[in-house]
């Protein structure tokens, strides 16, 4: 009997937001915590100081900006990561990458350019003005949402 094939499921992290596989979101996502997208997203995803994981069922059509980006599913759009982009086996990325470090596994499909940027040395934060920040992970669910399943 052939061994069943398994896809690596993203490990739900404590304190991370999850967009479940039956959720579709059109719009902007801003997150101040780690976030896992296992559903469909179209728009922009921003988690500048956190880790973003596109799960095996994730289909993201968006420009992405995060500290670390792990792609297990499918992404169409440019990816900018301050620290690292990790493209796993079976992942699919069509878009340009701008990051300090990239890891790509054999079997991943990637079409696009890679720009390695040196990490800036973080200056001591000088009383940064807090923008009228969006709430944590204020996903903007569209009317196309099916079975909203956003866990926080």
């Amino acid at each position: 009997m052939a061994a069943p094939s398994f896809r690596a499921e993203p490990e739900p992290l404590r304190g991370s937001a999850t967009i479940g596989k039956n959720v579709t979101i059109t719009g902007q996502i801003f997150s101040r915590e780690d976030i896992i997208i296992d559903g469909e997203v179209e728009g922009t995803v921003e988690a500048a100081e956190n880790k973003l994981t596109i799960g095996p069922n994730g289909k993201v059509k968006a420009s992405i900006h995060a500290r670390d980006v792990v792609i297990i599913g499918s992404v169409q759009g440019n990816v900018e990561a301050l620290e690292r982009v990790d493209i796993r086996k079976d992942a699919r990325l069509l878009g340009d990458i701008r990051t300090a470090r990239i890891v790509i596994e054999d079997g991943a499909v990637f079409k696009g350019s890679i720009d390695i940027v040196k990490q800036e040395v973080k200056a001591k934060p000088a009383a940064t003005p807090t923008p009228a920040a969006p709430a944590t992970s204020p996903a903007t669910p569209s009317a196309t949402n099916t079975n909203p399943d956003v866990k926080r």
Binding site: I87, I104, A108, K111, G112, S113, I114
Partner: protein
């Protein structure tokens, strides 16, 4: 250990001198379904020449048609270049299939246009170096000429292209491979599947293929390959 390294570099697993091809036709056994050789290292003067032309400069734009791999990314980026990855073999297979009609489907104008569009439409501008590897040998005319024309368009004047073709005209089948850069003059060949050998390329036909380019330089290898460095 040294012995093993030399063996992997210069080993000749079959009588034709090329571990990735055979002169025996399918009538002498089903060659297309025979097991694939293990990945092996292959020395390449063409690859060495390609990178030696680039290493004195930084911030060049390199186009790699073999798809993305950690080894190629690391190698190109260590010189401070920008890399653009395009998986031409993947596009070929998704467009023309992987069965016996792989070559005949290339005559379909609609599919050929789709292949060209998927390969070249999203390329951002022009490039200072292009790693074509052996992908051109799998394209049939007129798609082959069309693809070379597009490569001409996306290359900067004076920039280099690295490609290679089998130089044994009696080959009946060849292996589609993935290529990883191990060092400036060594590539790792990872066999993927066997296919019927397409058309044969001699020196004259390669020169004709790149007739719009400034020059073609040939490197003959021990494993019946004709490597070329083409200057735009």
């Amino acid at each position: 250990m040294l012995k093993n390294t030399l063996k992997s570099l210069f080993g000749r697993p079959n009588s034709s001198g090329n571990p990735l091809s055979s002169r025996q036709g399918p009538s002498s056994g089903n060659d297309l379904s025979r097991s694939l050789p293990e990945p092996f290292l292959r020395p390449s003067l063409g690859l060495e020449q390609f990178f030696s032309n680039l290493e004195s400069r930084e911030n060049l734009r390199i186009l790699d048609l073999s798809g993305a791999s950690q080894a190629n990314i690391n190698f190109a980026l260590q010189y401070g270049h920008h890399l653009y990855c395009e998986n031409v073999m993947g596009t070929m297979e998704s467009t023309f299939g992987t069965d016996d009609d792989f070559y005949s489907r290339q005559a379909d104008g609609h599919l050929s246009d789709q292949f060209i569009s998927e390969t070249f439409a999203n390329l951002p501008g022009t490039f200072d170096g292009t790693l074509v590897w052996d992908v051109l040998q799998f394209l049939q005319p007129p798609l082959l000429e069309n693809t070379v024309n597009y490569l001409h368009r996306v290359m900067e004047p004076g920039s280099l292209l690295f490609a290679f073709f089998p130089s044994d005209e009696k080959l009946k089948w060849i292996t589609m491979n993935s290529y990883r850069i191990e060092a400036a003059k060594t590539m790792k060949v990872i066999p993927r599947r066997n296919v019927r050998a397409p058309q044969y390329f001699n020196s004259r036909s390669i020169e004709r293929l790149f007739s719009d380019f400034a020059s073609v330089k040939f490197f003959l290898t021990r494993d019946h390959c004709r490597e070329v460095i083409v200057r735009r």
